[in-house]
């Protein structure tokens, strides 16, 4: 399927491949609207998946130039050269993305977190409170779906959270 890349000239192809790698690394993937004239939808999806798989395999198995080229026997030589150069250019990035993927092997992983510190000055019953509150929002990826979790804690609750997290970190350090 990679062979159908030859429908595009090399410079455009290079851009497309870099875009695919961008998508692989968690940035914006290429848009189909830009290439709808060249490939049908089915072909497009297939091309994307094969390209991603190709990049992952090439970087993941640490293959040499010859091995990569051997996997691209059915592609025009200029294009295979181009693909190789993309692999070599983005090796570190793809490697990092793959590590991240492996890192997120468990069913639920933490994608992002954000916090806000608020100072409650008063409540409906107490005129002067002066209690700092921390609202922590976690973006969890649970089986591929994003699930936001938000919680608000006062000082003691935050301390408990931090101590439990530290205990978890200790376990991780022991594993090392």
């Amino acid at each position: 399927m990679v062979a159908s890349l030859s429908r595009l000239p090399v410079p455009d192809c290079l851009k497309l491949c870099h875009k695919v790698v961008d998508g692989l690394c968690g940035r914006e993937p290429p848009r189909r609207a830009d290439y709808s004239a060249t490939w049908s939808l089915e072909e497009w999806l297939e091309l994307l998946s094969t390209l991603t798989a190709f990049f992952r395999l090439a970087v993941g198995s640490n293959s040499s130039d010859e091995e990569v080229l051997a996997g691209l026997r059915d592609v025009v030589s200029s294009h295979s050269e181009m693909l190789l150069s993309v692999v070599r250019d983005r090796e570190e990035e793809i490697h990092r993305a793959l590590l991240d993927r492996t890192n997120c092997i468990s069913s639920t992983t933490l994608q992002d977190f954000d916090w806000q510190l608020k100072l409650a000055l008063s409540s409906d019953k107490i005129s002067s409170l002066h209690t700092p509150l921390l609202s922590l929002s976690l973006d969890l990826r649970e089986n591929g779906d994003l699930r936001p979790v938000t919680m608000e804690m006062n000082r003691e609750e935050l301390n408990t959270l931090i101590t439990s997290l530290e205990a978890a970190n200790k376990v991780v350090l022991q594993l090392k």
Partner: protein, 633 residues
């Protein structure tokens, strides 16, 4: 007095009295101004007491009198001990007003001083900052959404705040690859295709977050490595690279053990059963195969091991034959279904076959090793027996000529013992210097060890010191910043240094004056003493002369005359002394009176008297008017 007046006027201005710029001493205060200043001071000192007092004099004379009375009472209640009455305010004189104002200013609560004396912790500053921010925000009027300026958007529309979402960025060029060709290719990529950081993201809002995230990521990684290297890496006495590779192999071993431990019970419980077990088994096989190639990686985390797991699946999916060619769809689907079913069937069969085969293989390999062991043991036994047999063969061959052979044997034995002794002595000869050398080398080695451990401890202590001092420096820098901001916030209009200098000058002046006073006092004491001495001497000489002359006076007429003269002289001298003393006291009285006159002059008595007379007339006028009104009513 000018200094005092300046301080007083400054304090009064702070309290809220409107003192105009031209007035720079208490002498220039009008009654109006005095009343206003006093009332403001009382309001600040005791708000309950001051709330009932008016800040300006009423036009009516009797009302003015009443205001003066109430003000005087209020001042006494606050604690002014001097003489005070309505006349203090209405017919002011400078010293009285000054002492009253000084008393009031001293009693003013010193908010500024108290707050600046407080320990200015971080939380206090923070709270103050929060308070200031809230105050500023409250001061900004609320505006409808469309009228908001960029200034107000920050506080009034919550949609301007973005949540923190980070995306991976590519920032710095990875300059690790030493090959020039690769670098060149990378440069091409960075020049032609890599977009700038601001264009790398799909959402512009997450740029800051992504940058921060990347930065903290790199920072924390560096810090962790630093910590680990300082705590464990230095102790292991390896180069960083060696340490890393060693850690990598250790981790790999650990992961392998873990996986094996997880795999064994599963395969035992369902031998040749579910797919996942065989998968894991295959995985382990690949692990063994790829362990060598993994060693090439210089950088290692514990992910490297599990990485294989993911990529294995990847490769499986890629190597699957990708269907090519298009035919009529239903046909294709049917055929695909069929094929799929057949293939699945085949696959399952193959799987079960494979499982069986692996089980057989295991069994066979176990028996094989057993057999090999047996074989080895029997071979050993055979060689032993062969040795024994050869010895026996030789002895049998020697038996016929036993005596000769015995002798020969003895000679041989002796020669060999001699040789042995010889060799032993030679060995000793060789051994001794070697042993010495060995010992010295060992000593040197231990010395080296000691020194290196000492150096290690030194390095560690240095590291600790560096950390501590950087922390300290940071703390001090923060403190300095805080203090600088506080200093900027402090009111700058009163120059403290000038005041302190004045105070010091005054103190030194007072000291000088005190010295002079003590000098004068001692002088006067001396004079007094001298006077007393002289008077005593005079009295005694007079008594002696009196006696002598009196004795002679009885005998001689002329002497009697002279005695009379003496008595007269004494009397007139006494009179003279008395007059001198009297003049002294009168002079002192005159001086006192002059001073009194001066103070009275300062009190503006004449003008005050005139004003009192005027006011008296006013009051009489008012009274008569009131009486007329009453009569009319």
């Amino acid at each position: 007095m000018e200094e005092v007046d300046k301080i007083l006027i400054h304090a009064l201005k702070q309290v809220g009295t409107e003192v105009s710029e031209e007035i720079d001493s208490v002498r220039q205060f009008s009654s109006e101004l005095i009343v206003q200043a006093v009332v403001r001071c009382i309001q600040v000192i005791d708000p309950g007491l001051g709330s009932s007092l008016p800040t300006s004099l009423p036009p009516g004379m009797s009302a003015r009198f009443r205001v003066g009375m109430s003000l005087a009472q209020a001042c006494q209640e606050i604690g002014y001990k001097g003489e005070i009455g309505y006349q203090t305010f209405l017919y002011s004189n400078e010293p009285e007003i000054r002492s009253l104002l000084m008393c009031l200013v001293e009693k003013l609560p010193r908010e500024g001083a108290e707050t600046s004396d407080q320990p200015t912790g971080k939380s206090v500053v923070l709270q103050r900052g929060i308070a200031a921010a809230i105050k500023a925000q409250l001061a900004v009027p609320w505006l409808p959404t469309h009228c908001r300026l960029p200034l107000n958007i920050e506080t009034q529309s919550p949609e301007a705040l973005h949540s923190f979402h980070a995306q991976p960025l590519r920032l710095s060029p990875f300059t690790k690859g030493p090959e020039k060709k690769q670098l060149k290719v990378k440069k091409n990529y960075q020049r032609d295709i890599l977009p700038p950081v601001t264009a790398q993201l799909s959402f512009h809002t997450s740029l800051m977050a992504s940058l921060l995230e990347k930065h903290t990521d790199e920072l924390s990684a560096a810090q962790e490595w630093d910590n680990e290297w300082n705590s464990q890496g230095l102790l292991s006495r390896l180069t960083p690279k060696e340490y890393r590779s060693r850690k990598l192999t250790r981790l790999r071993k650990r992961v392998k053990e873990q996986l094996r431990a997880a795999e064994v019970p599963a395969s035992e419980s369902a031998f040749g059963g579910s797919r996942s077990n065989t998968d894991l088994f295959e995985l382990l096989q690949t692990f063994k195969g790829s362990a060598l190639s993994d060693l090439i990686l210089t950088k290692g985390t514990h992910f490297t091991h599990t990485k294989k797991f993911t990529f294995e699946q990847e490769s499986a999916s890629v190597t699957n034959p990708i269907p090519s060619g298009h035919q009529s769809e239903s046909d294709i689907q049917d055929r695909q279904q069929m094929e799929l079913a057949a293939l699945q069937h085949q696959f399952q069969q193959l799987c079960s076959d494979g499982d069986q085969l692996t089980a057989d293989m295991k069994h066979i390999s176990v028996t094989n090793t057993q057999m090999l062991n047996e074989l080895k043991q029997s071979e050993l036994g055979i060689s032993e027996k062969e040795n024994k047999m050869q010895v026996k063969k030789k002895t049998i061959g020697l038996l016929p000529d036993a005596d000769d052979n015995l002798l020969k044997l003895q000679v041989l034995v002796e020669a060999s013992t001699k040789r042995l002794v010889n060799l032993a002595s030679q060995w000793e000869k060789h051994r001794a210097p070697h042993m010495d050398e060995y010992r010295t080398l060992k000593e040197i080695c231990s010395n080296h060890d000691l020194e290196s451990s000492r150096m290690m401890s030194e390095i560690r202590s240095l590291h600790d010191k560096i950390r501590i001092s950087t922390e300290e420096a940071r703390k001090k820098e923060e403190m300095y910043k805080q203090l600088v901001t506080e200093l900027e916030n402090l009111p700058q209009d009163v120059s403290r240094s000038a005041y302190t200098q004045r105070i010091l000058e005054i103190v030194s002046n007072i000291k000088k004056q005190k010295e002079e006073i003590t000098k004068i006092l001692s002088d006067t004491k001396e004079l007094q003493k001298e006077i007393n001495n002289l008077t005593g001497k005079l009295d005694r000489t007079f008594a002696v002369t009196d006696e002598l002359v009196f004795k002679d006076a009885k005998k001689d007429e002329s002497v009697r005359k002279s005695y009379k003269y003496l008595a007269a002289l004494h009397e007139s001298c006494n009179q003279l002394i008395q007059t001198i003393e009297e003049t002294g006291t009168i002079l002192r009285e005159i001086r006192d009176l002059e001073e009194q006159i001066e103070t009275e002059n300062g009190n503006k008595t004449v003008s005050n008297l005139e004003r009192i007379l005027d006011d008296y007339k006013c009051i009489r006028h008012e009274n008569s008017a009131l009486a007329a009104k009453v009569r009319e009513g």
